[in-house]
Amino acid sequence: MKHRSFEISRRRLLQFSGATALASVSGQSLAAPASDPRFLMIILRGGVDGLTMLPPTGDPDLAGIRGQMNEFPTIPLDGFFSLHGAMPTMGELWEQQQLIGFHAISTPYQDRSHFDAQNVLENGLAHPDGSADGWLNRALALRPDSARRGLSVGAGTPLIMRGAAPVGSWAPSQLPVAEPTLVDRLIPLWAKDPLLARMLPQGRELQAMTGGMGGDTSSGRMAGLLDQVGQLMARVDGPRIVAMDSDGWDMHGTLLFHMNRLSADLDQGIARLRSALGESWSQTAVLIVSEFGRTVEPNGTGGADHGIGGSALLLGGAVRGGRVIADWPGLRPGDRIAARDLRPTADLRGVIAAALADHLSYSPTEIGETILPGFTTANRLPELFHRML
């Protein structure tokens, strides 16, 4: 694997981590330690284009390769990487050292099917099949009270949250609420159906928690949803491990238009999440990932096709941010996989395992045997989170 001079980004991060550690002694550590950590996982479905979300603007090949598709506003980060300009909140978080970018990263899946790639991202294994449950569910199953602590936001439950541990699920509703006496009568009937048995009582608990929550969520857009998710996660009895989807990132055409639209919505969502979380923001980490990236070269239709190497963002008050972590492989045809995809140089499980170990306090055994079978926790990326006291 080639290492061009761009590996400065990695070296620079080592310098940064010293600075960050200092900052955490002087400022951050005065905030409440992450004794009650919150973890939100946002899955951008479709394969976000990393060269637009977190463009390597310092790579001399980028502009030539991307052409017109490289012409959009950016927010400079570390001199090599930038953020898409429609994400000012993320830029602010960067300034406050609460955001880490990851680039040239992927799950162990090295092919280009959305659905297989999403399975690998969510089942926590090295291959698409072989598990009908998700790694967040397995993590929740290791602690008591999973039905309160785990929450899946939106229609249906994605694989990452499916499994043996009961978890909550929530989406805003406009339907009139049924008479409680009707539900009382139904609970014993539903109890006889194994699949349905636990649903109504758990639904009631959730209803009690979210009661009366309205807001501008009918469109299902991220900004409105993340506001409400923040309100839920801020509660003393609220959920602590939350997964939600954002659709529409499979941009085979008109990529710049759609990136601008969806990135701005996501960014506003993060702003509203932060403000809804209030004090709890300091104990929060948000991991924004996608099943893969997109081809280095634009396709013929102002977009890019499915490609293996991608990008991710980790942000929040619990994150030791202000850096982009990437062992940058370069963009030239010879640097890529099959002369088309950005070559991943990091395993996304290294970030996930860090969140599990250093933010949510799971043990290496729990991680390596149950949550991410086969992954060695010692190989996680170090120092992504403030030390918990």
Binding site: R45, G46, D111, R112, S113, H114, F115, D116, P128, A147, G154, A155, G156, T157, R162, P166, V167, G168, S169, W170, A171, S173, Q174, L175, P176, V177, A178, E179, T181, L182, V183, R185, L186, L189, K192, D193, L195, L196, R198, M199, L200, P201, Q202, G203, R204, L206, Q207, S218, D247, G248, D250, H252, G253, F257, N299, G300, T301, G303, D305, A338
Partner: protein
């Protein structure tokens, strides 16, 4: 054999839920009742026949792009496509609620989902209905290969999976338009429509099919009403022979990809892929390998005759086991409205689908909607299902005098004894109806 039980299963498993009187109608010969629907489906509603053809709607898009670029498209979405979507969705749901051939209607929905186009891509919002009406509905009684060709050639699929602007890299069109290859359609054809993800193809096959498909595009809008239709642009078609799954395809213009699709339709991996999907939909979330093998064999032996395939489902013993499948939100809403004898659909019906998490033609991806229970049932959604049942019961004007027989009209013998007891003890006929519609049995098919 319990014919009463089979009649109920015929209406709720194979059909879309019993309308009043249907279980009685099916009772003398449940299988024959279903088979007759396939042979002679009831005609589509008049509302459906009055909807605009796709090529007109696509032409408007072409004009908007050409004259006003993105602002033009945004305006078209707001002023034409969104209202069109609502009309289409109301008509589709109304058709499902009122049809007397609901096995056939389920068959249409099944294949529509197999060839998903979704409004998650904004320009498809106003077009997905037309795609289903034109590419799917008329072809579900024929052979799979014809359905496949109709779906892949349809202008809305061409737009949805970006083939309209996929140009052979060495063609005049690519140079003139400064464009190139887009492999989206080719990949989904292999992964979803035909062979399946484990069907044995690789990246070279994807690229090869994508190159063969270059030129499969749309006729330009010219003011004479000939725009927005399937059109083969020879100047965008990459010349040269190709190989796909070990077969050589001479360069034959539009015929090259067409022959490739014919061969894909006949490939054993396609038979297996379709058989798996059918078994999961009509038998259970985890059908036995034997069922899949047997359906796969029927697919191959009949050369993909979809009518024979539908009839083969009726001969599978396991497909007559009661209530193995959880209803999706769409199935719940349609069967509820059928159960109360609704005479159509409206925007309130659509709102219910939004609340329960399954708006028509808004599947998250080209893979379509999940077809297994765990994707659809969560505590929050469970309560929402009860809220919906109660809300419908609230709106029914005439309450049954005998709530238990009313419930039996909807589910026959499929309700358990405890549920029947609870219905008979309800505090009011309205609550009895709400119980029948929200009972655990009614969540299943």
């Amino acid at each position: 054999m319990n014919r009463q039980m089979d009649a109920a299963i015929a209406t709720v498993r194979f059909g879309m839920g019993a309308r009043p009187g249907e279980i009685r109608d099916a009772a003398s010969d449940p299988r024959g009742w279903l088979a007759a629907q396939m042979a002679n489906p009831a005609p589509a509603t008049l509302d459906m026949k009055s909807l605009e053809p796709s090529h007109e709607l696509v032409s408007q898009l072409q004009v908007a792009v050409r004259t006003d670029a993105i602002p033009g498209v945004v305006k078209l979405l707001r002023q034409v496509y969104r209202p069109q979507y609502v009309r289409e969705a109301v008509v589709r749901t109304g058709q499902a609620i009122t049809t007397t051939s609901s096995f056939h209607e389920r068959w249409v929905h099944f294949w529509s989902d197999h060839f998903t186009v979704t409004g998650k891509k904004p320009v498809i919002v106003g077009l997905a209905g037309g795609f289903e009406r034109e590419a799917i509905r008329p072809n579900v009684g024929g052979r799979f290969v014809d359905l496949l060709l109709a779906a892949v050639r349809h202008p809305v699929m061409i737009l949805y999976l970006d083939n309209a602007r996929s140009f052979g890299p060495n063609t005049p069109a690519a140079r003139y338009r400064n464009g190139g290859l887009n492999e989206n359609l080719a990949r989904e054809v292999l992964e979803l429509h035909t062979l399946g993800v484990d069907g044995g193809y690789d990246q070279a096959d994807v690229r090869s099919l994508a190159l063969m498909l270059t030129g499969w595009s749309l006729s330009p809008a010219d003011g004479n009403g000939s725009g927005g239709r399937f059109h083969f642009h020879a100047t965008a078609h990459e010349p040269g022979e190709r190989h796909l799954m070990g077969i050589r395809y001479a360069d034959d213009g539009v015929g090259q990809a067409e022959q490739a699709l014919r061969d894909l339709a006949a490939h054993p991996a396609t038979a297996r892929n379709i058989a798996r999907e059918l078994a999961r939909h009509f038998v259970s979330d985890t059908p036995s390998p034997d069922v899949v093998t047997s359906l796969s064999r029927t697919f191959t032996e009949t050369a993909g005759d979809l009518q024979q395939l539908a009839l083969a489902l009726l001969d599978i013993q396991e497909a007559w086991a009661p209530l193995t499948k959880l209803k999706t939100p769409d199935e719940l809403v349609v069967s509820t409205m059928r159960g109360v004898g609704a005479n159509g659909s409206n925007e309130a019906t659509l709102n219910a689908l939004v609340e329960l998490g399954q708006r028509p033609w808004m599947a998250p991806s080209p893979k379509g909607w999940p077809d297994t229970a765990e994707a659809w049932i969560t505590p929050d959604r469970a309560l929402r299902r009860v809220d919906f049942g109660a809300a419908v019961a609230e709106r029914v004007a005439t309450m049954p005098t005998d709530p238990v027989s009313r419930a039996r009209e909807m589910m026959g013998e499929l309700y358990g004894r405890d549920t029947i007891t609870e219905i008979s003890r309800a505090e009011s006929p309205r609550q009895a109806l709400a119980l029948a519609l929200s009972a655990p049995e009614f969540q299943r098919r």
